[in-house]
């Protein structure tokens, strides 16, 4: 039998991956350096800012040992600018620009290892984990935001605008169709996956009987592309 879970990642799994993102905190307590699996952590000296993984930041925040500095794109100003872009322009807002590749090293940068959510991230682009990171920060540290309610509202607006776009893209998802998914975030991919695969599967099922009938005909007549083409033409009429 099939797995009980749907294909792809479940939302908690995506959120778990997102917890590797670096965020900026202002520690409120001295902490010695830690040797973590993900790399060494510098000692924390209040009120010096530090960039640490999100999971640790959430832990420290819960114990009230740190304040989280929301990334610049989580400010009402930049969110409303991005929302305006999303509502006016047909494509998704572009993801943050990749930094120039460090020459000589084989280290390849991809979202969890990019500083996309620290205090010095770009303000005008949503990083890959924007939705899950934003909602986790809003849940754990609403008092560290200037205007948490406004941010929450804008995030919800953004999510709806972008999901609507994704669903609209499904309309062209017939055989050979495609949707450009540049700038779509991790959670959105996860959310849309079941729907899109469902649609594609459904389309295939609808087309299946016709496909089989054609194959049948092909076998009877002996396969010939030109004839096939003619048959199609006949069908159309």
């Amino acid at each position: 039998m099939a797995l009980p879970l749907p294909p792809g990642l479940t939302p908690p799994e995506i959120a778990f991956i997102c917890e590797m993102e670096l965020v900026t905190i202002i520690p409120r307590q001295r902490l010695e350096g830690l040797e973590l699996l993900g790399g060494p952590l510098k000692p924390l000296n209040p009120p010096q800012r530090a960039s640490i993984p999100l999971w640790l930041a959430l832990l420290l925040k819960r114990q009230r040992r740190a304040n989280i500095v929301p990334p610049p794109w989580l400010s009402p100003d930049s969110l409303s600018a991005i929302l305006k872009y999303e509502t006016e322009i047909d494509a998704f807002s572009p993801p943050p620009r990749l930094p120039p590749l460090p020459s000589g090293t084989s280290l390849v940068f991809s979202p969890p290892f990019l500083p996309g959510s620290t205090a010095d991230a770009t303000a005008d682009a949503l990083p890959y984990h924007w939705l899950e990171l934003g909602s986790m920060l809003l849940e754990a540290a609403p008092e560290d935001f200037d205007d948490a309610n406004e941010v929450r509202k804008l995030l919800r607006g953004l999510r709806e605008a972008r999901m609507a776009k994704l669903r609209q893209g499904v309309e062209v998802l017939d055989a050979g169709g495609g949707v450009k998914m540049n700038g779509v975030g991790g959670m959105e991919v996860g959310e849309a996956r079941t729907f899109i695969t469902g649609v594609v599967d459904g389309l295939r099922k609808i087309g299946k009987s016709r496909e089989e009938a054609r194959k049948e005909r092909d076998r009877e007549n002996g396969y010939s592309p030109s004839q096939d083409f003619d048959d199609d033409e006949m069908d159309m009429r």
Binding site: P27, R28, R30, P47, R97
Partner: protein, 870 residues
């Protein structure tokens, strides 16, 4: 004067809402009501009023200038009539609105009229040229009231949805200054209850009726709520008015009573219960003791001697300050510098307030024959100064105040009347301390934490010390009866000071955080009459500068160690770090009329002066905002232009030089130009990566000071201003056009920005290197410092090496510059010149490589020679 009679109502209009306005000179009183005429009453005359016919019906608002008045009617027209003639010159239509007019307001100079209607937009129309219209569009609902402040620079708009909008009218295009949401009540457009903004005559505050039937005062300095008049009206307030000098407030409501309040104490002085109908509009006569009001029955009352004789001294007071908890401009002047005149005029004995002359004509004839009662057509010509608009021309005794006199000139009559040269001095301030914002105030902000105080109803204060590292230190909160107004904070303790109050002298209070015995906090009094101008706390000393120009230095246990008089005076501020004390005072007057600031740095322990009376380099029209020592122990200043400067070579006498380390105007976050914010400096220290950063609090909008609770600290990397922010902004923006194609674009434009980056690295690390090597040569260096120094050495060479690579890439003809870069290298680890040679080789610059080799050999030789000599 006759016994006060109950006021006699005069039938001004048919029963219905009636409104009135006094002309600014107080001679005429205009009423408007449901009738199709307006009436012009003359003050002090019982004759029949002048009727101005052919007006619109159902007038809902009226405003008056000296020779014309303006009405707003329910049919949506705003008309202007001449005061003198009975037909009002026919009446010019100034504005026609589609919806009923609710209010009109005339600017004090009579040039502009603001029109509130049921439309969302408030129109401000020029009274002479109706083509000139300003539009205020920020309202979400229709507007009930508009009112200009006393100088006409700001317009307050009361909206039916309970919001106030304050616009600045200075500029061509009016700008929304502030939106206040929680002051006035939501009302219907036709409601009788008022939401009008009443500007206090001193121009720095206004009052509005609130939903709780109170009069709430708000300051325009900090947009904080100040004192409240807790009226006992049993219904909504329908009208209110400040007396012309701001000392009295009168309110009335639907419950048919008029209350008179003392503005200073907010106490009820008198209550009139004999009101027949709801009063809708109320106005004080600009100079006399007359309150006129109109009600919703069409009656006009001119209540002469409204203020009873026993209270009339209130009316003779000069212009009073608005009732604040704390004046927001106190502590740090809102104006950057103050006149010497203001500071000295109460001190000089010959400049005390002039008493009224004995047996003067006014005295003999009594109050009713005072000058201002006469209706003089043109007061300006006869040289008499009459305080008819309450602006403080006279001191309440019929004499001029001293404000018009020059500061230090002799009384000789033959002085030429050229403008008097008035030197301006810098006000004293406490680094990190803010003025009062509402009832809160920050006394000091450091990297360790901050000290704040909250005023509790003016009787006592709650002082609070909060740490960013709240595990290591415990936050402190205590009740303060002395009113501490300055504080300083270090790892060891907190220092407070308070000003002398009456017979209690000024006091200093030191409170250590923790000790191994019982906590030994101590207090010391200063000599009577001496007040504290600034305090500073270091790891080993307490520094106090006082109004008597003394610098007093105590040990951390309260032992006085030094007392000396500061050479540069008056004192401005001070700062301290370990054994070093920096004091700043006003020095000689420079070309632009402001006094130059002079600083002195000395080492208390060794008793030697590092810098004596050197100049704090500030450009003209700039003031000092803060002075502090960085966590590495280098002096930094932050000026009102937003530039952070450090003092280089400050331990060597005569060598000190101010170096800009960061210009906050050039920050990349300001590049778009849309952001209006300022930065409240806190400190400079190294961040987690060892880079030097400027810690500050971001203050949004036009406000300059953070409030309690302060915003989170922000960090900005130091950046010596080399290129302007606009350049950087463009470089950041252009590649954003399409993120997919930036790879190609980058290669095209990178070298330039890369070069700027490396140049920035080079000069910044050189400055920091100089700073650190000075520190190391004067103190016992720690291993960390030594490590930092060699890191900086490497950093300098690395940036030079990268610049060299760019030069080599650029072409053969840049060889000279490339060689210059190589000669600048410090080569501390001996490998850099080899690396430079390799770079030249990689780009096939053989000539250059030979030259570099030559240079390396020469250096090696000279090093060996030096070693031989040793």
């Amino acid at each position: 004067m006759a016994f006060p009679q109950p006021p006699r109502g005069r039938y001004a209009h048919a029963p219905g809402p009636t409104f009135l306005a006094y002309s600014p000179n107080g001679q005429k009183l205009v009423t408007a009501g449901v009738d199709n005429f307006c009436r012009v009453f003359t003050t002090g005359s019982d004759d029949e009023p002048l009727n101005v016919d052919d007006c619109q019906e159902n007038n809902l608002a009226v405003a008056a200038g000296n020779d014309f008045f303006i009405t707003g009617a329910e049919d949506g027209t705003v008309n202007k009539y001449a005061m003198a003639t009975s037909d009002g010159d026919g009446g010019d239509i100034l504005w026609r609105s589609t919806l009923p007019i609710r209010d009109v307001a005339l600017s004090p100079d009579g040039a502009w009229v603001a029109v509130a209607s049921d439309e969302l937009v408030v129109h401000v129309i020029h009274t002479k040229d109706i083509q000139m219209v300003k539009r205020l569009r920020d309202q979400n609902r229709s507007v009930r009231h508009v009112s200009f402040n006393k100088s006409g620079t700001q317009l307050a708009v009361s909206c039916v949805d309970g919001s106030l909008y304050i616009y600045s009218m200075d500029s061509e295009e009016p700008e929304l200054v502030q939106k206040v949401d929680d002051m006035i009540k939501r009302t219907e457009p036709e409601a009788e209850s008022s939401a009008r903004v009443l500007w206090h005559p001193d121009g720095t505050a206004f009052a509005t009726p609130t939903g709780l039937r109170e009069m709430q005062v708000m300051s325009t300095g900090d947009w904080a709520k100040h004192k409240t008049f807790k009226t006992e009206h049993r219904a909504d307030i329908t009208a209110a008015a400040w007396s012309p000098n701001g000392a009295l407030l009168v309110t009335t409501s639907n419950d048919l009573s008029i209350c008179l309040w003392d503005a200073k104490t907010q106490k009820l002085l008198k209550k009139y219960d004999d009101v027949k109908a709801t009063i809708l509009a109320m106005a004080w006569h600009p100079t006399q003791n007359i309150l006129s009001y109109t009600n919703n029955e069409g009656l006009l009352y001119m209540h002469t001697n409204f203020v009873p004789p026993e209270l009339q001294h209130f009316l003779r007071l000069p212009l009073q300050a608005a009732p604040y908890f704390h004046n927001p401009s106190e502590g740090r002047g809102n104006s950057p510098t103050t006149n010497l005149v203001n500071g000295l005029k109460h001190v000089l004995p010959e400049r005390r307030a002039r008493a009224g002359s004995a047996d003067s004509l006014d005295d003999l004839l009594g109050d009713e024959f005072r000058d201002d009662d006469l209706d003089m057509p043109d007061e300006a010509d006869d040289g008499f100064v009459i305080d008819d608009d309450g602006a403080g021309y006279t001191n309440g005794l019929g004499k001029r105040t001293n404000g018009h006199l020059g500061p230090l000139e002799s009384m000789s009559k033959r002085r030429p009347t050229a403008p008097v040269f008035q030197p301006q001095i810098h006000e004293p301030f406490q680094p990190g301390g803010t003025p009062w914002r509402g009832n809160r105030r920050l006394l000091c902000c450091t990297l360790l934490g901050y000290v704040s105080t909250i005023s509790q109803e003016g009787t006592h204060y709650t002082a609070e010390v909060r740490f960013y590292n709240d595990r290591e230190y415990t936050n402190v909160r205590f009740t303060d009866v002395f009113g501490y107004d300055k504080a300083a904070l270090t790892e060891h303790g907190t220092l407070f000071s308070c000003q002398p109050k009456g017979s209690i002298p000024a006091m200093i209070y030191y409170r250590p955080h923790e000790t191994w015995t019982t906590r030994a906090d101590w207090r010391t009094n200063l000599p009577a009459g001496e007040s504290v101008t600034a305090i500073a706390l270091s790891h080993s000393y307490v520094v106090v500068t006082t109004s008597a120009n003394y610098v007093r230095i105590y040990s951390l246990f309260g032992l006085p160690l030094r007392v000396f008089r500061q050479k540069a005076s008056p004192v401005v501020t001070c700062a301290a770090w370990r054994d070093y004390v920096l004091t700043i005072g006003n020095g000689p007057v420079s070309g632009d009329g402001t006094s130059q600031l002079l600083y002195t740095i000395e080492n208390v322990k060794r008793d030697e002066i590092c810098q004596s009376e050197d100049i704090v380099a500030l450009p003209p029209n700039t003031t000092l905002t803060s002075v502090f020592f960085s966590s590495d122990g280098d002096p930094y200043i932050y000026d009102s232009d937003g530039v952070l400067l450090t003092l280089l070579h400050w331990r060597t006498n005569g060598q000190a030089r101010w170096v800009p380390m960061l210009d906050t105007k050039c920050l990349s976050r300001r590049a778009g130009g849309g952001k209006q914010e300022s930065y409240w400096p806190v400190s400079v220290s190294q961040d987690a990566n060892g880079k030097h950063v400027f810690h500050c609090m971001i203050v949004k909008g036009s406000e300059k000071y953070p409030t309690h609770p302060p915003p989170m600290l922000s960090e900005f990397a130091l950046e010596i201003p080399l290129s302007s922010a606009i350049d950087k902004g463009r470089q950041e923006k252009e590649p954003d056009v399409d993120p997919m194609f930036d790879e190609e674009e980058e290669s095209g434009k990178k070298p330039e920005s890369k070069q700027q980056q490396h140049e920035q690295d080079y000069i910044l690390s050189s400055v920091l290197h100089t700073q650190l090597s000075e520190t190391i040569s004067h103190t016992r260096p720690t291993t960390y410092q030594k490590q930092d120094l060699s890191n900086l050495d490497v950093q300098i060479d690395r940036s030079l090496l990268q610049l060299l690579a760019l030069e080599c890439l650029a072409g053969e003809d840049r060889g000279m510059k490339a060689l210059e870069l190589v000669t600048l290298m410090r080569n501390s680890n001996g490998k850099m010149l080899d690396l430079a040679g390799k770079v030249a080789e990689r780009y096939n610059r053989d000539m250059l490589r030979d030259k570099i080799q030559e240079l390396a050999e020469r250096r090696l030789m000279s090093n060996e020679e030096e070693e031989d000599e040793l």
